[in-house]
């Protein structure tokens, strides 16, 4: 898997979210109705698997921020109103506590450009890498000039699944804004951006993305002269941000002139995930 058509990583934003729901998205029917709907959905979801007795209804009554709220906040921080986006990809592993919600579609109408938006899941840490790969492919075909990749995680599973599960310590998210080489970006495109977030302007060019399953004993890649390596939770345990951690670190490396290799290991499918960015010269 390679050849993301020289996409530039234009901007990176990362945010930690608290436990409280964010303001601004109260359902017209009231939170009581939403809590009842969440509970019914989860009860029906668990029953065929004999897991309904482990349902934590209290967690469903007072959930933390939903992926919709987290995504909205990240978009507001990452995308200027005069930067229309053509594609929005939402990647996550742990399901949202609004289980029936088409969150990517919801986020589409909040994002400048009303982009085509969809979600990738059920791939653990590899979902974000697949999302990045797909953004590259849409750019290659000319269908996308600017894209947003949202990588989200939330810490609550309102039931005991009966098997080991990795959950993050808190809700967190990372937004990457990527642009095709021919995009015309205003020089002052960031003039209106909210500066009260952990964000940075980047000069990195995506050169390859790969997800290779079936690697039983993976070796983490090592840094070399001119290349910094960021390892995800699959290589170096990260109990705080198991699904966003490798992307979270990306922001910390932006002051370097090094190329950057992000590497993670998805244990269920034994997939080695790599994304390589070269410093623009």
């Amino acid at each position: 898997m390679s050849g993301p058509h020289g996409l530039r990583l234009r901007r990176c934003v990362r945010l930690d979210f608290g436990d409280e729901p964010l303001s601004g998205t109260q359902a017209p029917g009231g939170e009581g109705d939403r809590a009842a709907a969440r509970t019914l959905y989860h009860r029906d979801l668990l029953r065929p698997h004999g897991l309904e007795t482990g349902l934590d209804t209290a967690a469903l009554k007072t959930p933390g921020p939903s992926y919709g709220e987290m995504g909205r906040t990240l978009l507001e921080a990452a995308v200027s109103p005069d930067e229309p986006v053509d594609l929005l990809v939402l990647a996550y592993a742990v399901p949202d506590l609004e289980p029936g919600r088409a969150t990517a579609t919801y986020l589409s109408h909040l994002c400048p450009g009303r982009p085509m938006a969809f979600a990738i899941s059920d791939q653990g840490t590899a979902a974000a890498f697949t999302g990045l790969k797909l953004i590259g492919e849409y750019a290659r075909s000319g269908d996308t000039r600017r894209a947003v990749l949202l990588i989200l995680e939330q810490p609550t599973l309102p039931y005991d699944p009966g098997v080991p599960v990795t959950l993050p310590a808190a809700a967190a998210g990372v937004a990457l804004v990527l642009e095709a080489p021919e995009s015309h970006v205003r020089a002052d495109a960031d003039a209106d951006m909210d500066t009260d977030v952990d964000a940075a302007e980047l000069t990195l060019r995506l050169t390859s993305v790969s997800v290779e399953p079936g690697v039983a004993e993976p070796e983490p890649p090592r840094a070399s002269d001119g290349t910094s390596v960021l390892l995800g939770a699959g290589f170096t345990p990260d109990e705080t941000r198991p699904y966003t951690g490798v992307w979270w670190q990306l922001l910390g490396l932006l002051s370097t002139r090094d190329d950057v290799l992000l590497a993670d290991f998805e244990p269920v499918s034994q997939s080695v995930c790599l994304a390589e960015f070269r410093a623009r010269t």
């Binding site: 029906d44 919600r101 579609t105 919801y106 589409s108 109408h109």
Partner: protein, 315 residues
């Protein structure tokens, strides 16, 4: 070039008349009659004792073209109407892959286009593939909760599944274009009753516009489209869409609405098999697959294909 190279489907044996479902949801006999007479919904299929894995397994078992080609399958993609259909981290698709010798494939789900997600998965699959790789796209879900059993005044969901092999080559039905229109303002976190009415009013127009957009992107005129393979939400919806388009309703494969109801994201592929069986697809036939996903946000999607029987099927 994205191409469909083989399709198989499974519908469970148990038939449930919509009158039974209507009674279960507290509808009056008159409301049930409206579903049968006007929406043309008759019955749905159910497998009460079966799991999602059982549904998907049955569909993949019928996919003869997969035999001997397992090593070429690079991606297995589950397209879902509902984002969450099993308790996390249980993963029936991964289990299915083990059973069918597909452990080496990348397994993932795509979603958030509701019942239009099946078309999204075809597009995503084609874009991910290179060379002679294949993707296995899976559609189909369990009607496990009220939201997954009925859309009030609109449809009843039936259980079933479809499996589809996608290639990046010239062999099979070629994807000529794909158009998507999304309306997140109808998400229930922000939408009110007035929005619900607006959505109902706009639905046929938006779906018709999306079909026209896909046809235009394919460089065709609507008159060159010989067939529409719809989602099975109900017949009234498609009659309205056809009026907007000026397109003959007789060229929309609607017969499965009465027999199967709305089988989540699998409708288009099930109707594809019906069209093949009825001899409606000749080499070169241009047809549309179209679907709308609604409920929590709205997505309208349409694809234009040109039918080319895979090499192994040609005389």
């Amino acid at each position: 070039m994205t191409a469909i190279t083989a399709v198989a489907a499974h519908l469970p044996d148990q038939r449930v008349p919509i009158e039974d479902l209507a009674a279960e949801f507290g509808l009056t006999p008159m409301q049930a009659r409206v579903f049968r007479r006007y929406h043309k919904l008759g019955e749905v299929r159910m497998d009460p004792a079966g799991s999602l894995l059982d549904l998907l397994r049955a569909a993949v078992s019928g996919l003869d073209a997969l035999r001997g080609q397992e090593h070429r399958v690079r991606y297995v993609i589950h397209a879902r109407s509902f984002p969450v259909v099993t308790p996390y981290p249980l993963d029936p698709v991964r289990e299915l892959c083990r059973e069918f010798g597909l452990d080496h494939a990348n397994v993932l789900a795509v979603g958030h286009h509701a019942c239009a997600t099946g078309l999204l998965a075809l597009d995503v699959a084609g874009r991910l593939l290179t060379g002679d790789e294949l993707a296995l796209v899976l559609t189909g879900e369990k009607a496990f909760t009220a939201d997954a059993r009925t859309v009030p005044e609109t449809t009843f969901f039936g259980e079933g599944a479809a499996a589809c092999l996608v290639s990046a080559g010239q062999d099979g039905d070629r994807l000529l274009s794909y158009a998507v229109e999304q309306h997140g303002e109808y998400d229930e976190a922000v939408a009110g009753p007035a929005d619900a009415l607006a959505f109902q009013r706009e639905y046929p127009d938006r779906l018709a516009e999306t079909i026209l957009a896909a046809v235009a992107r394919a460089g065709l005129a609507l008159a060159e489209i010989e067939l529409i393979l719809p989602h099975n939400v109900n017949a009234v919806c498609w009659q309205q869409v056809c009026r907007r388009l000026g397109y003959p309703a007789a060229q929309v494969v609607l017969e499965n609405v009465a027999e199967y109801g709305h089988v989540f994201c699998a409708d288009n592929l099930i109707n594809y098999l019906t069209a093949r069986r009825r001899g409606l697809l000749a080499p070169g036939t241009r047809y549309v697959m179209a679907a709308a996903g609604a409920g929590l946000g709205a997505t309208y999607s349409a694809m234009v294909f040109a039918h080319h029987p895979p090499r192994r099927e040609r005389p």
